[in-house]
């Protein structure tokens, strides 16, 4: 593990998916933090200041887009790269997310784990 490993915050309520994503990114040399709710995710984000956030939309209580809006209101969270990783794929959600400001909108069932890693590396300027 490199000392200068980039930090990724994973906000996802499905345990199986957290494990799969978390393992994959750790294997690829990232430091991974995960949260099962938007509230916890928000707290961790402000505490740990990750380099990138992978955000699900359907979450208990507060949903992903609401959290994203709040994050963008924070001084620190204004420009932090966020990639939506969700199985909701209707245009309404995509447009809304793009409007608030996200790097990309990925549909879980349509992407491979390796695709997600490639994209994250691309954003963070890491060699793939």
């Amino acid at each position: 593990m490199k000392i200068s490993a980039k930090k990724i915050l994973l906000i996802e309520d499905e345990g199986v998916l957290i494990d799969l994503l978390s393992d994959t990114f750790v294997n690829s040399g990232f430091k991974v933090n995960s949260a099962r709710s938007a509230e916890v995710g928000m707290k961790l984000a402000l505490q740990n200041r990750p380099d990138l956030i992978l955000l699900d939309l359907i979450l208990p209580k507060m949903d992903g887009l609401t959290m994203l809006k709040k994050l963008r209101q924070e001084r620190w969270g204004k420009y932090i790269p966020v990639i939506i990783l969700s199985n909701l794929s209707d245009q309404k959600n995509i447009s809304e997310a793009m409007k608030i400001g996200v790097y990309d909108f990925l549909v879980k069932s349509d992407v491979k784990l390796s695709d997600v890693v490639v994209e994250v590396k691309e954003v963070l300027g890491e060699p793939s």
């Binding site: 499905e14 199986v16 998916l17 799969l20 994503l21 393992d23 994959t24 359907i58 969700s86 199985n87 909701l88 794929s89 209707d90 245009q91 309404k92 447009s95 549909v107 879980k108 069932s109 349509d110 491979k112 784990l113 390796s114």
Partner: protein, 712 residues
């Protein structure tokens, strides 16, 4: 005969005989003037068995009167003793009790008259002298008394001669005296004259004057005066009638005047006229009369009989009034009335139709006046608001019973209700609101409020309430299904797919069999994902909620994206793929995701159904304001019988059914999208040789653009 029998001799030469009930007067200047008239007057009365009463004055006293009588009538004393003549001063008669009282004096005269008849006299002959009068009031009272005598004297056997001093009378008093007596005796050049003839001639002149006035009146008003004899026959001339009708004097004689009537009216008129003559009743009728120029005019005709003293008809007089104008107005009025009535009837019909129309509408409809008071509504509103029609009528739409809330139950302020928009801005206001009713669930309604505009002013509003409970329930079910399909179904699929991916990362320890099994699991998971995605797309398309992304895009770039997505299949099957386009293809505004879905479906089909080593060409072109996408493959082709059906939902041709994976939804979805964009899709295919799909999409999506822009 009877009249003659009643005549009495006055003893005065210029008067001669008069009937009972005669009231006349004399103007005198000297005592001799008085005696000239009164001595023969009373002498005649005494000799003809009448009671005589002489009321004297200071001018000629009682004694002077008696002396003069005795001197001129030898047997006078006997008459006086007998009481046939009474001579006494005015103080014992007019001024009995000190003042003149008209009623008392009249009663005294009547009493005297009745006593005379009782005593067997023929009647009573009197003379009075109002010389005593010295003030205006007494004069006026006395004039009234004289007038009263005129009113009643006909009923009595009385002859009254009033003597007035000419020197005491002013000119107006003179006229009073003359007008209150039937005739007046005045001494002219030493001879007594009866001035009755003078007045009479004056009256005749006045009558002529009045007659000519009447004629000019008749001429001015266009009335025609007429007279006939008692039998209804024209005898006298009727100048206006002749002038109007152009008939000659001879023409109108007898029943000749009826020739000027309208032939259709003549019979009716003659009948009515005959009836009037028989019944002697007045006659009133309308008829058309022919004018000298041959035109007919409406006249209203009145006629009355004038009677002789014996009750027989002397003549008929009447007048014809031109009522053509009135008649014309009447006709016009009648026409207007008819028009109004038919208008009223058609309005009523309209009303009935409107009511039927209102009732036939499945939505609640409430019409209000400009203040928001209900003026009309239909039955459906009863079920929506839970009120009876009669209870809602006239109520304000802004009262509590008609309150609206939002989805959360918060009351919508009146100022934000659609009816306000309609009233204030004269625009159509609409939106989804909720009707709150006691003991019921909130009813979601789509309300449309349209202003009623009359002469540029909002005079009311029509409010339509569409119960959208069902639509909302459907929408909810739809949302729930889409959520289920996209999230709940795809999440475990993602977990499986990603797990296999992780397994495959380090596959050195697996046997060939295990590896193959993993591949199968992975492929089937991908297939499941593909089916789920198709299901999502088809559902969205069918519900019309497939979201289109309207943006500037280059179809060539989308094509390259699709090719990248399919790169593995193309490479695996060694397909010779060719993209044909030119510099004409530049970015433009369209639904980018729609183009992607179309190309992805067409190209993945082409690759799927083309055997390894085959050819797939994609041509992108612009022709006549259309974007043309053409996919040509050298695949297995579509059987002729299947060609018309391949766009149907879940249809799969026989030659692919069991050999190729698929849902039968791809072409169905893209056909829906293409149709939505106003484009067309055509297929040409030969079994075993290949297929050609040609898509034509308009470059400008005008018809739908404005509608959907608001979602973006």
């Amino acid at each position: 005969m009877e009249l003659k029998h009643n005549l009495r001799k006055t003893g005065i030469d210029v008067v001669g005989d008069v009937p009972w009930g005669t009231h006349f007067c004399q103007f005198y200047e000297t005592k001799q003037d008085l005696l000239d008239v009164l001595i023969p007057y009373f002498k005649e009365g005494l000799e003809h068995h009448e009671l005589c009463v002489w009321v004297t004055s200071e001018f000629l006293t009682t004694n002077e009167a008696k002396l003069a009588m005795q001197k001129n009538m030898p047997g006078f004393s006997t008459y006086l003793k007998k009481g046939q003549i009474e001579i006494f001063p005015h103080t014992e008669w007019y001024l009995k009790g000190g003042i003149f009282e008209m009623k008392r004096v009249l009663a005294d005269w009547v009493h005297k008259h009745d006593e005379a008849l009782k005593k067997g006299f023929e009647g009573t002959r009197v003379s009075g002298n109002p010389f005593w009068i010295d003030n205006k009031k007494d004069w006026n009272d006395f004039a009234a008394y004289e007038a009263e005598i005129n009113q009643v004297i006909d009923n009595y056997k009385l002859i009254v001669l009033c003597t007035y001093s000419l020197n005491k009378c002013s000119s107006t008093e003179l006229i009073d005296v003359i007008s209150n007596h039937e005739f007046t005796l005045i001494k002219k050049k030493g001879k007594w004259t009866n001035v009755e003839s003078v007045t009479h001639s004056k009256m005749e002149e006045a009558l002529r004057k009045s007659e000519s006035r009447y004629r000019s009146h008749v001429e001015l008003t266009g009335e025609l005066a007429w007279t006939t004899n008692p039998k209804g026959e024209a005898e006298e001339d009727m100048p206006e009638w002749r002038k109007y009708t152009g008939q000659s004097f001879n023409d109108i004689q007898g029943a000749g005047w009826t020739k000027a009537l309208h032939p259709d009216d003549a019979k009716r008129v003659i009948k009515a006229w005959q009836k009037a003559i028989i019944t002697k009743r007045s006659y009133e009728i309308e008829y058309r009369l022919r004018r000298f120029d041959g035109t007919y005019h409406y006249f209203l005709v009145y006629g009355v009989p004038t009677f002789r003293e014996n009750g027989s008809i002397r003549e008929w007089v009447g007048t014809c009034i031109d009522i053509t104008r009135r008649k014309k107005m009447e006709t016009e009025l009648t026409e207007h009335a008819t028009q109004l009535e038919s208008l009223n009837r058609s309005l009523k019909e309209e009303f009935v139709k409107e009511v039927a129309l209102l009732e036939s509408i499945g939505d609640g409809v409430i019409a209000t006046d400009k203040k928001g008071h209900i003026i009309a509504l239909n039955k459906k509103t009863e079920t929506l608001f839970g009120w009876k029609t009669k209870d809602m009528m006239g109520k304000s739409l802004f009262i509590k019973g008609f309150k609206l809330t939002d989805e959360q139950g918060k009351i919508i302020p009146n100022s934000l209700r659609p009816i306000r928009l309609a009233m204030v801005t004269a625009q159509v206001g609409h939106g989804i609101y909720f009707i709150v009713r006691k003991g019921c669930k909130r009813i979601p309604v789509f309300i449309t409020s349209s202003p009623i505009i009359l002469d540029d002013k909002v005079v009311g509003a029509i409010n339509i309430y569409r119960d959208v409970s069902q639509q909302i329930a459907i929408d909810r079910a739809k949302d729930e299904f889409l959520y289920f399909a996209s999230h709940t179904l795809r999440t475990p699929l993602s977990a499986v797919a990603w797990s296999i991916e992780r397994l495959n990362e380090n596959s050195e320890g697996y046997s060939v069999k295990q590896k193959k099994a993993l591949d199968i699991i992975y492929d089937q998971t991908q297939r499941m994902i593909k089916l789920t995605n198709d299901l999502l797309d088809v559902t969205r398309m069918e519900f019309g909620i497939l979201s289109y992304k309207y943006e500037e895009t280059n179809p060539k770039k989308i094509a390259l994206d699709v090719i990248t997505d399919l790169k593995n299949q193309i490479t695996d099957k060694k397909i010779r793929f060719k993209l044909i386009s030119n510099h004409q293809i530049t970015p433009y505004h369209t639904y980018s995701n729609a183009i992607y879905i179309i190309l992805h479906n067409l190209l993945s089909n082409a690759v799927k159904f083309t055997p390894p080593g085959g050819k797939v060409n994609l041509t992108i072109a612009k022709i006549n304001q259309n974007l043309i996408l053409q996919v040509i493959d050298s695949g297995i082709g579509i059987p002729k019988s299947a060609q018309p059906k391949i766009l149907q939902k879940m249809y799969r041709a026989s030659n692919v059914k069991n050999k190729f994976e698929g849902s039968g939804l791809g072409l169905y979805i893209i056909n829906g999208i293409i149709t939505h964009m106003g484009g067309t899709i055509t297929v040409k295919s030969k079994l075993g040789r290949g297929s050609v799909f040609t898509i034509k999409l308009p470059l400008t999506l005008e018809a739908i653009q404005s509608e959907e822009r608001k979602y973006l």
